[in-house]
């Protein structure tokens, strides 16, 4: 399966995301921010980093890039898209996901291995987990606090659209300890911690993150 990995100026984690796709048995296709051709990929990953230097707001400029103008309508038509960290911020700025990511409540940049609980294994990117499964993957961000109004929060909670929550202390002040959400259809997922850094115990704290990528393979076969 061909899976696109987008590189914006300032993206950091595209190589790890591509490696994760290969570990999961897929073929990683590099997608450049200035192109608008999705090259027939069956899924897209928006990796972490600091797209366009995080100028204005995280993800705000990336939203208007040529590649996003191709990804947004494709995602609305069901193309699986996973946004990790900065990619999650891009998805919120694109209004493919509701809410926004703001400064961590304690204002510190956090970088640590974080336990999260998968609370919805029905999305395209979480189907290879079991519900309630606890995993440890790296968390590294300065603006990871998920915020939205009460109505949006109720909609997310009421329709099972939270896919993961932080376990233990809420690290960044996210509402309801939300670490990741999905759209109503389950094809677009945003997650703040980094599964692509935890696909192999040689290079990550665990291999727990790999299931995000194998989920896509399983869903779309």
């Amino acid at each position: 399966m061909r899976v696109g990995v987008v590189t914006f100026p300032g993206t950091l984690d595209d190589h790890d995301a591509a490696r994760a796709v290969r570990f999961a048995g897929g073929e990683a296709i590099s997608l450049w921010h200035g192109d608008s051709d999705l090259q027939g990929v069956a899924g897209v990953i928006l990796p972490g980093g600091f797209s366009y230097g995080d100028y204005l707001r995280c993800g705000a400029i990336a939203r208007f890039s040529p590649i996003m103008s191709a990804i947004i309508p494709a995602a609305e038509n069901g193309l699986p898209v996973l946004g990790i960290c900065n990619g999650f911020q891009v998805l919120c700025e694109s209004h493919l996901l509701p809410g926004a990511l703001t400064r961590n409540s304690e204002l510190h940049f956090l970088c640590r291995d974080q336990e999260i609980e998968i609370v919805n294994n029905e999305s395209d990117w979480t189907s290879d987990f079991s519900n309630g499964q606890r995993i440890i993957i790296p968390l590294k961000n300065g603006e990871g606090s998920f915020q939205c109004d009460d109505r949006t929060l109720n909609e997310l909670e009421g329709n099972n659209r939270v896919i993961a929550r932080y376990v233990g202390i809420n690290p960044n002040g996210s509402r309801n300890s939300i670490a990741g959400i999905t759209n109503a259809r389950g094809n677009v997922v945003g997650v703040m911690p980094h599964p692509e850094h935890a696909i192999d115990s040689l290079t990550g704290p665990t291999a727990d993150g790999l299931a995000f990528f194998t989920s896509l393979m399983k869903t779309r076969v």
């Binding site: 204005l56 700025e93 809410g99 703001t102 400064r103 961590n104 409540s105 204002l107 915020q147 939205c148």
Partner: protein, 82 residues
């Protein structure tokens, strides 16, 4: 010449951790005016070599609502300085 100033602030219901940190720093520095809260925002100063027309102000408002602010968490106001 005119300056169109777009002020963007987080909505009241959104946690502003930077504003809170400033609020806590003020009394530590000896200021005694005891604010009930401090909200931090940003300003965009758009300079034109002419007075903006109604249409141009409409365009700037559209830019403020789409690019300069994120309506999910922020609100904005526009003023013109001559």
């Amino acid at each position: 010449m005119a300056k169109v100033i777009v002020d963007v602030v987080l909505k009241d219901e959104i946690l502003d951790s930077q504003g809170d940190a400033i609020s806590r720093a003020l009394p530590r520095m000896g200021f005694t005016f005891s604010p009930t809260s401090v909200r931090q925002g940003k300003s965009f100063i758009i300079t034109l070599d002419h007075e903006p027309s109604r249409d141009e102000l409409g365009e700037i408002e559209k830019a403020a609502a789409t690019l300069l602010s994120n309506p999910v968490i922020e609100s904005f106001s526009i003023r013109v300085e001559h």
